[in-house]
Symmetry: C2
Subunit: 157 residues, 2 copies
C-alpha cells in the first residue's frame, strides 16, 4: 500500500493469534467492546453492519463522559483488510468535520500468528500531528496489546 508520510500514521506488529480470529474480533460488537479503546476507557455500545457503506458506530465511556462516534466501512475484504472512517455516517451522509480514515490489515506471519498493520489517514499534516500528539502510537499500540490478550482467550472456543 502506498503511504503518505505527511498525513499518515502507521505501525505494524506481530500478534500471536490467527488472522481469522483477529478479523472476528474487529468485526463483532461483543468483541469490539473488549479491546477497542485503551483501558480504563470503555466501549459502551457498538453497532456494525459489515458491508461497504454499512455503519460502524461506537459509543465510548471516557472518564465518565459519553463519546459517540458514527462511521461507515469503506472496504470489507474478509480476513484481510478493513477500511472505515468517520467521514460518513450510514447512507453516505458526510460528516461536517471528519477526523480520519483507518486501514487495518491482517497477514499470516507464517508461524500461526498475524502481521497486523494499522494505518490512520488524515486530511492534512496538521490533523496527522494532532492525532500523534493525542497519543496515536501509545493508544493504538495499547489497543493492539488488548486485542492480542483478548484474542488469545478465544483460541479454540
Amino acid at each position: 500500500m502506498i503511504l503518505y508520510p505527511e498525513t499518515d500514521l502507521t505501525f505494524t506488529r506481530t500478534i500471536q493469534a490467527p488472522r481469522s480470529l483477529l478479523w472476528e474480533c474487529w468485526t463483532t460488537p461483543q468483541h469490539i467492546k473488549q479491546f477497542f479503546v485503551p483501558r480504563p476507557h470503555s466501549v459502551e455500545d457498538c453497532e456494525i453492519d459489515l458491508r461497504v457503506g454499512g455503519k460502524f458506530n461506537t459509543t465510548f465511556n471516557v472518564d465518565g463522559n459519553t463519546m459517540k462516534n458514527d462511521g461507515v466501512f469503506l472496504e470489507v475484504e474478509e480476513g484481510r483488510r478493513l477500511v472505515f472512517t468517520d467521514a460518513y455516517s450510514e447512507g453516505w451522509k458526510p460528516a461536517a468535520d471528519p477526523f480520519m480514515t483507518a486501514i487495518i490489515e491482517f497477514e499470516d506471519d507464517g508461524h500461526g500468528g498475524t502481521t497486523y498493520t494499522a494505518t490512520a489517514r488524515h486530511r492534512s499534516p496538521e490533523a496527522r500531528q494532532t492525532h500523534e500528539d493525542m497519543g496515536f502510537f501509545g493508544g493504538w499500540g495499547t489497543v493492539a496489546t488488548q486485542l492480542e490478550d483478548y484474542a488469545k482467550t478465544l483460541v479454540g472456543k
Copy 2:
C-alpha cells in the same frame, strides 16, 4: 433513500433512454466527455476504475482554465446506483477540503425510459447553499439534458 434537506440538493427527471444506456454513459470515459459538464465547458480527460475505492478522475476545461477533480467511487450497483465523491482520491487518501458526495440513481420508468435522480450531499448547510448558488439545479439539469441528447444518439448502436 433518506434525504437530508439541510445538506442535500436533489432532483429527479425522466430521461427518454434506457437505464442500461445511461449507466454506460456514466461509467465510460469516452461517454463522460460528451455530457458531464455544461457546454461550452468541456471534459479534457477522464479516468475511471469502476469499483468501490476505484478512481473517478476528471479534468475540465472551464473558459480555458484546467480544473482537475480527483475522486473515487463509494458504491457501484450496476445499472442502478452510482455513488462517488471528491472526499477521497484513489487508495482512500482523504481530500483536505472535500466538496460533495454524489448519488446517481436510475430506475425504469415503465415506458422504455429512465427515472433519473441526482443527489449531491454536503458536509454542512453552508456547503449546500454554496453549491445551490453556483447553479446546481441549472448545471446538473443541463448535464441531464446533454446526457439525454447524447444517449439518444447511441440507441441501437
